[in-house]
């Protein structure tokens, strides 16, 4: 895990610093590149690419939600932690609140429909296409599409109830 994290972090920095205005970050390419770099190392035994992508998407979810909870905590006046402008520029407090609610809803979704939760992770947090997610989960793209549609409706319902 730390190795994956370090590699993603290093590449992310590289991608951001190369970023030019008007260009969207090709962040799924980043995960691809990280994977290729890691599988070339002898001491890493990734069973397959799918496992890596699943892990990267989980990591992205974890990083974002952690950050969102940190922002929410700082906003409530917790602790003395100052949030720097560049940190805050990444997520507005509204986005942070949405992410936290989504994360909670995803936990519930995972209990009822674990595969749907993974698909949301891969698509929403991992930025993957339907085809890529299908490859990771070893299911057909049609299944991914259907799961995705139902999961979105399910989560949207869950989040609307909460508010």
């Amino acid at each position: 895990m730390p190795l994956v994290y370090d590699e993603l972090r290093r590449l992310a920095h590289h991608y951001i610093s190369r970023e030019r205005p008007g260009h969207t970050l090709q962040t799924t390419a980043l995960v691809n590149e990280a994977y290729l770099r890691l599988v070339n190392q002898k001491n890493v035994h990734w069973e397959n690419r799918a496992q890596f992508f699943g892990l990267a998407a989980k990591l992205m979810r974890h990083i974002l939600v952690d950050h969102a909870r940190g922002l929410a905590y700082a906003k409530r006046g917790g602790g003395a932690r100052k949030v720097s402008l560049d940190e805050a520029a990444i997520l507005s407090s509204e986005q942070a609140a949405d992410l936290i609610a989504l994360d909670d809803a995803l936990e519930k979704l995972a209990r009822e429909f674990p595969r749907k939760c993974r698909i949301v992770e891969l698509r929403y947090f991992g930025g993957m296409t339907v085809e890529e997610a299908a490859e990771v989960l070893q299911v057909s793209p049609v299944t991914v599409m259907r799961d995705w549609n139902v999961a979105k409706a399910w989560l949207h319902r869950e989040l609307s109830h909460g508010s």
């Binding site: 992310a12 974002l64 402008l85 805050a88 429909f113 698509r123 947090f125 139902v150």
Partner: protein, 300 residues
């Protein structure tokens, strides 16, 4: 939930989606058979689907990538930026992180400020900033931090300045209650720096205790970051000053924005500022040094 139940839901949901919305209820009533629970579940999911619009349409991976990159920035110690070797983090603020570094050519210690990547992706903003920094670097005054170099290494923009071994006025105020004579001494030196800058037509825009350094050795005051505040300003394209104020103050809600307390009224309203804005801010700082708190507290 059991897998076949999940499949039933998925199938009925998608079969209903194939119908035009007006026909879905009738379709469910028929296709759902006598499974009332299934019918209710799918019907409620369909309603949520219709209201979902662009919910989760755009992946959040980009934000995650930015966070990763931010963390990476903390791993910069011992790296070489231009001919500066980064030694340690001195502080971080809205306009990037400041590191103690060694100038490997001249063998002296300097401070290197790295600008956050997302500030420098807008080339117009970078040009504006460089213009400002160039004019600020022409300022030659004992109370203004000397700029050695404005540069770029790979795509990291940085500013190398003289290194001041000391504390910020904020840190000093946190340690002790300043005496009146010390307060005046600091204020006079800041005023002297401002006078020199204003003569050259340069407005600081962000005078606050965090931007005022007190050198340990001789208590000489150094004003930091002339003109840099321009880099973080949002261009407000509105004549509605109320809205502009709201935008400026709420762009990053939840953030500890020390600056607001020192902002002049015209600055808070988002309209053009001139030298007078710095004088207002200095007034706020002087007040705080003497009274131990800023004159206007609470929500702006």
């Amino acid at each position: 939930m059991e897998a076949d139940r999940e499949q039933q839901i998925d199938e009925l949901f998608h079969a209903a989606l194939m119908r035009v919305p007006a026909e879905r209820a009738a379709f469910l009533a028929e296709a759902g058979g006598d499974d009332e629970e299934l019918r209710r579940e799918v019907s409620s999911l369909l309603a949520a689907h219709e209201g979902a619009d662009d919910f989760m349409e755009k992946p959040v991976m980009e934000a995650a990538t930015r966070l990763l990159a931010d963390n990476q920035a903390r791993a910069i110690i011992n790296q070489q930026i231009g001919h500066y070797k980064i030694l340690k983090l001195l502080g971080a603020g809205g306009m990037g992180e400041v590191y103690l570094a060694e100038d490997t050519m001249l063998g002296r210690r300097v401070a290197v400020k790295l600008l956050p990547a997302h500030f420098t992706t807008d080339s117009e903003r970078v040009r504006r900033f460089q213009r400002e920094a160039r004019s600020a670097s022409a300022l030659n005054h004992p109370n203004i931090l000397t700029i050695h170099e404005i540069g770029q290494s790979d795509s990291t923009h940085f500013i190398a300045t003289e290194f001041i071994d000391g504390v910020t006025l904020r840190e000093r105020m946190n340690e002790v209650r300043l005496s009146l004579s010390e307060s005046l001494d600091v204020a006079i030196q800041v005023a002297s720096a401002l006078a020199a800058a204003h003569e050259e037509g340069i407005v600081h825009r962000d005078i606050k205790p965090e931007n005022i350094m007190l050198r340990r050795r001789d208590r000489i005051v150094k004003v930091l970051d002339f003109g840099l505040a321009k880099l973080t300003e949002q261009k407000v394209l509105t004549t509605d000053h109320e809205a502009a104020t709201m935008q400026q103050l709420t762009t990053h809600p939840g953030v500890v924005m020390g600056t607001v307390a020192y902002m002049s009224p015209e600055q808070a309203r988002g309209i053009e500022v001139d030298a007078r804005t710095d004088i207002w801010s200095l007034g706020m700082v002087l007040y705080e040094m003497v009274a131990g708190r800023v004159p206007f507290e609470g929500a702006a």
